[in-house]
């Protein structure tokens, strides 16, 4: 955190000064470790084993926060008789189909559930293609509201007992064997975690997004969520799971998404053949029969369509629902790059993104971009993604010939964050307004300017067209006040539209509960409604911390409803009383209002007048079905999900799988790596062999990458600025003194790191901050590389992301770019054609050169069969 989020780290330092204990678990000793109370090094890719061990420690010793767990999680819920665990099936859950490598989740459902009801929305083949777990990010699980329960937690098929059996083998010894962590260090963390949780204390779990970049990335976070629920650390002050996002407004770009499968406010992008009408689409979101606020999805969906198409959107034409594009499968960033290589993509827009350096498998990125009709790059500098055709590594090897490269590149200069107004949404879901400090120089313009005027020009070209396909563009509500000499759209007017207003009076809405499904209101992102309450830009508020409570509700504005901690009903006990005086946050006050109200330091995340004693009438659903003891109001059963019956592709519980590239056999299960992962098996995407495949020893070391404080991600904002570039002027590779001795590496000298994709060179930095680990009885060396460099800028170097292949988490299609295997050699790498031959030599020696198909399923029926990986199935039946 100190490395990549130094400004946020000030709060960790402040907490430490007030007595907090800071524990840092990381493959290498970083700036964060230097300031932590305890540092625990672990093997890359074994986090589920580590945290699973802590969960087991909690369960075996009865250390869970029992009253919280029984009342607020699904621990008591009884699961179907048919459910079989990875403990029963050697690393697979019940319902696995080796042919498609997906699950039929019918057996994962709660007992008494008629699995036939699940029907269409449970096709995991389609869900994997559309990264459906991402679409469900705030949907919660669409389960029925009232499953059978055993509140004694003794029923052998209740979630609590299933969890206990599932993690029983994650003993301190197994954690030590798998993660390379000493049992002493592991137990110290487990003790600290549990002793600092309960009525009086809470523990926060903080991760940076590298944690998600694994073939089991979603399940990493799930493991953390299970632990935090068991210890009662969710919805309470000082608890929770804090995701440190990688850029200034990445949270904003999922809320108002730049993702292929989402619309604003986590409304899913309609799927062709599934969401054929407005009703189909909205019912798929609201899950009739489930509890919770998604029951109002119709209002959210209609308000979005009204914001897009204004007066043209009417009840008669389903508010122009048919104008929305449909997805037909996987259109994720990696699929798109492979489609670019295959010539299926004509044009590509890059906005503040530098995939030539920043994305996994840099060569695939660059070869893809070299095979387009046009490419638009908007950035502060002429980054590698705009110059790949003339100075990329592939030009050196002859794979891209500048004179023949067909891609026409349009480089558009962008305004920086101080040269435009707007909001940043940070990890706490807080929107903070920023003013324009200076005018952008020359032709530099904001993204808002670019897209508004691009839309304007296209609409002018299409004016008068009668073609049906042009209606969605021509009918757009595309009208904003212009500011200044450069005709910049007024960003506050856009924020007002996002907030939403009454169409007739233009009165800003103050809450999404005011949104109407009849078209009389509009709003571009329902979760942001309230940011312009009372016609005031709430995101621009800056009341100092010293002038308000520690929750600081008057600094910026957090969605939803300016609520700073989600699910904060859980900060009170089932009767509505604070769990303890020390951790009082939101509570029921019977003396307020007519018959009592929820109150406290934060905006209650609950209907304010619904008492803790409220029980739902039989047969109710939606908001009415949320009982007074259901804090997780977006979940179908109102409870925190220890066990997830619906919504995840790779299983209802996290289990340890090895990274796709690993020098070790999975010590816990016969199934080696995530069997449902997305893997594009093709010559351009050779993956290093892992056990039980032969030749894994060709790549004996483990490598991982991350950031340095001194540079920003792919370097587009730091390598081109002298005073930043000089801070870390060269690409380097960190190795332990032991590995340096083993491979003859000299500090300050050169070395190169090799995988089946590429060889990357850098200066050697020998440091005690990396330590060999003992795993499964043998010594493993880990290598670390920063990934900031490329061929452009004031300081150049090889790109570490070139080393990775493409394998993806099946839930959200994120790439495994924090764990791989490699070889390390002293000296500089070969250049030109020799480089290709050098890498090919490694491919041959490791047996992955020809039409290599690897086994992905390693247990059960179909085990060890070569697998061609995943190409996108076309729902229409074509290719």
């Amino acid at each position: 955190m100190a490395e990549a989020h130094p400004v946020g780290f000030q709060w960790v330092m402040e907490a430490k000064a007030r007595g907090a204990t800071v524990i840092h678990v990381d493959p290498r000793f970083t700036r964060t470790s230097a300031l932590a109370d305890t540092f625990v090094p672990l093997r890359v890719g074994t986090d589920i084993a580590f945290l699973g061990g802590v969960i087991n420690y909690v369960l075996q010793n009865g250390l869970d926060f029992r009253e919280y767990v029984v009342a607020y999680t699904n621990a008591a819920v009884i699961v179907s008789d048919d459910y079989q665990d990875t403990e029963d099936l050697d690393g697979l859950f019940s319902g696995f189909d080796p042919a498609t490598r997906t699950y039929d989740p019918a057996s994962w459902q709660y007992a008494g559930r008629d699995s036939a009801q699940d029907g269409d929305d449970q096709d995991h083949v389609v869900q994997r293609e559309t990264a459906s777990a991402l679409q469900h990010e705030t949907h919660g699980i669409g389960v029925e509201s009232d499953p059978p329960r055993d509140e004694t937690l003794q029923h052998p098929r209740c979630v609590y007992q299933i969890l206990k059996r599932h993690f029983a083998r994650y003993t301190p010894e197994l954690v030590s064997q798998t993660c390379g962590v000493s049992t002493e260090a592991f137990l110290e963390v487990a003790r600290a975690f549990t002793e600092n949780s309960g009525r009086d204390r809470t523990t926060a779990l903080v991760y940076s997004v590298g944690w998600t970049q694994h073939s089991v990335g979603v399940q990493y976070i799930r493991t953390g969520a299970i632990l935090q629920l068991l210890l009662g650390n969710m919805g309470r002050p000082g608890g929770g799971i804090m995701a440190l996002r990688g850029h200034a407004s990445i949270q904003g770009s999922t809320d108002i998404p730049t993702l292929f499968n989402l619309l604003p406010g986590y409304l899913p992008m309609p799927t062709a053949g599934v969401d054929d009408s407005l009703d189909d689409w909205l019912d798929g979101i609201s899950h009739p029969g489930s509890k919770g606020y998604w029951a109002n999805a119709r209002a959210y969906g209609v308000n979005l369509l009204k914001a897009y198409w204004g007066d043209a959107a009417t009840a008669e034409n389903d508010f122009c629902f048919d104008y929305l594009p449909r997805i037909t499968g996987d259109h994720g960033t990696y699929r798109t790059v492979l489609d670019m290589i295959d010539g299926k993509v004509k044009g590509y827009f890059l906005l503040g993104q530098n995939p030539a350096v920043g994305s996994a498998h840099g060569k695939a990125q660059r070869l893809g971009m070299a095979n387009l009709d046009f490419l638009v790059v908007r950035d502060l500098f002429e980054i590698e993604s705009a110059t790949f055709w003339k100075n990329s590594p592939e030009v050196e090897t002859g794979e891209i010939v500048p004179q023949e490269c067909r891609t026409e590149v349009f480089l558009m200069p962008a305004a920086s964050h101080v040269e435009k107004e707007g909001t940043f949404t940070q990890t706490q879901r807080m929107l903070q307004w920023r003013e324009k400090a200076v005018e952008p120089p020359g032709d530099c313009r904001s993204e808002l300017w670019f897209f508004y005027h691009l839309g304007r020009l296209i609409r002018e070209r299409l004016a008068g067209s009668t073609a049906e396909r042009d209606r969605p563009l021509l009918d757009l509500a595309w009208d904003y006040p212009m500011l200044g000499d450069t005709d910049d759209p007024d960003a506050e007017a856009v924020l007002m539209e996002i907030n939403g207003y009454d169409v007739a009076t233009r009165r800003p809405l103050s809450s999404f509960t005011e949104m109407k499904a009849d078209g009389s209101t509009l709003g571009g992102c329902w979760i942001y409604t309230g940011v312009f309450a009372d016609g005031v830009n709430q995101a621009a508020r800056r009341t100092p911390g010293s002038e308000q409570s520690y929750v600081a509700p008057e600094w910026g504005w957090a969605w939803p409803a300016n609520r700073r901690t989600l699910y904060n009903r859980a900060s009170a006990d089932p009767q509505g009383r604070p769990w303890s005086e020390r951790k009082a946050y939101v509570w029921w006050d019977a003396s307020r209002g007519a018959a009592g109200e929820w109150t406290g330091h934060d905006v209650p995340d609950f209907e304010v007048t619904k008492p803790p004693s409220y029980r739902a009438p039989a047969g109710s659903d939606g908001v009415e079905a949320i009982e007074g003891v259901d804090p997780f109001i977006m979940q179908g059963d109102g409870k925190g999900s220890l066990f997830v019956p619906k919504g995840l592709i790779d299983g209802p519980l996290p289990t340890h799988y090895e990274p796709v590239e690993s020098p070790f056999r999975n010590p816990i299960h016969g199934q080696q790596a995530n069997p449902t992962r997305k893997e594009y098996s093709r010559p351009a995407n050779r993956l290093n062999p892992s056990p039980p495949e032969p030749h894994a020893e060709v790549f004996p070391y483990v490598f991982t990458t991350s950031r340095l404080t001194e540079h920003h991600t792919a370097g587009g904002m730091s390598r081109y600025v002298g005073r930043l570039a000089e801070l870390q002027p060269e690409m380097f590779v960190e190795v332990s003194p032991e590995l340096a001795a083993e491979r003859g590496l000299q500090n300050g000298g050169w070395c190169h790191v090799v995988t089946a994709r590429a060889a990357v060179e850098g200066r050697v930095l020998v440091t005690d901050r990396l330590s060999p680990l003992r795993v499964e009885g043998r010594v493993i060396h880990q290598v670390w590389l920063p990934y900031h460099w490329g061929t452009g800028g004031m300081v150049t170097g090889d790109s570490a992301n070139d080393l990775f292949g493409i394998s993806l988490d099946p839930n959200v299609l994120i790439q495994e770019s924090k764990a791989g295997t490699c070889d390390v050699l002293p000296g500089r790498r070969p250049t030109g054609r020799d480089l290709l031959a050098f890498v090919e030599g490694y491919q041959r020696r490791s047996g992955v050169h020809d039409d290599h198909a690897r086994p992905i399923v390693t247990v059960g029926p179909g085990a060890q069969a070569p697998d061609d990986g995943d190409e996108t199935p076309d729902p229409a039946g074509g290719t």
Binding site: P6, A17, T709
Partner: protein, 320 residues
């Protein structure tokens, strides 16, 4: 010999330089290196505000330090020290984790086998810590650079700080060897940069102070490792922080440059360190190089008088 125009001992430097009683309090830095995260924001903010050029684009291979030392183009410098030493109550986890590969120097004398290593015993690797510290001009109470400056370019400000006036400095370089810390230096390049040939160092952002602002480095520091303020108040804060660390078991912690009785009369920019000053590249017992100047003048005066007296005597003798 503390007093008006003294050259060492505890004084108020601004008053000593002749500012009236209404001069502002002495301002300075307290750099608490125990909470420095080595982000180098201070280096960058300093260069941006003061227009100090970027000059070095080579990796030094010395932990994460690529700026080496304070110099004319580096007015803040963050040192990174990787050390085989535990940090108070902190547990690095590296010692107990280390694996014995049976290589020279790694195994304990009794040759503990690799089978034991990596478990809970001491694997022969000492514990580890990573120190980071942002260094800066000390703005000495008795500043030798100022004392030796023949043009009056270096002067004492009303805030008690020491500042070079770029338009007066003639580049003679007398100040360079005078500094007991090796801070001030003449800018040698790069070509086209401003003030090449002129003595350059931290001004404690004199221009910002005059406008009531905090110096750029302290403003940018995310963890408040660099604290700016009234020196008397900072000294109290430093004492309290030191006591807190000692209580927490970090017995190596010490203050550096805060003592008005030290060789430079106390620094306006002082530090909390976690080890000997030498570890950070700081002189252990700096003394203002002009400390003996009065003494030397006296000696020289006596010698001159003696010579004159001798000469006079010889004339007297001749008359006789």
């Amino acid at each position: 010999m503390a007093g008006k125009h003294s050259l060492f001992g505890p004084v108020d430097p601004a008053a000593d330089a002749g500012y009236g009683e209404d001069h502002p309090p002495r301002m300075g830095f307290f750099t608490d290196t125990s909470i420095c995260i080595g982000c180098k924001a201070c280096e960058v903010a300093c260069k941006e505000w003061n227009d100090v050029p970027a000059t070095h684009f080579d990796m030094l291979g010395s932990s994460y330090d690529n700026s080496l030392s304070l110099n004319a183009n580096q007015w803040r410098h963050v040192a990174f020290i990787e050390q085989a030493k535990p940090l108070g109550e902190q547990e690095s986890g590296l010692r107990r984790q280390a694996v014995d590969l049976g290589m020279p120097g790694m195994a304990p004398p009794d040759g503990a086998s690799a089978a034991h290593a990596g478990q809970d015993d001491d694997a022969g690797r000492p514990d580890f810590r990573w120190l980071m510290s942002s260094d800066v001009c000390k703005h000495c109470t008795h500043a030798a650079c100022l004392d030796v400056c023949p043009t009056g370019s270096l002067f004492r400000t009303e805030f008690g700080t020491v500042v070079v006036q770029d338009d007066i400095c003639n580049g003679c370089g007398y100040c360079v060897p005078a500094c007991p810390y090796g801070v001030i230096e003449r800018r040698k390049g790069p070509e086209g940069a401003k003030n090449v040939g002129i003595a350059q160092k931290c001004t404690l952002c004199y221009d910002r102070l005059g406008a009531g602002s905090t110096p750029a480095c302290a403003q940018a520091c995310p963890t408040q490792s660099i604290q700016f303020g009234d020196v008397d108040e900072l000294r109290e804060r430093a004492d309290a922080r030191l006591a807190q660390l000692h209580e927490a078991g970090t017995t190596d912690a010490r203050l550096y440059g805060h003592d008005p009785e030290d060789g430079v009369g106390g620094a306006g920019a002082f530090f909390l360190l976690l080890d000997e000053p030498e570890v950070y590249g700081l002189p252990p017992d700096p003394v203002v190089t002009t400390k003996d100047l009065p003494h030397m003048f006296n000696r020289a005066g006596v010698a001159a008088l003696t010579l004159l007296a001798g000469a006079a005597l010889s004339f007297l003798g001749r008359r006789r």
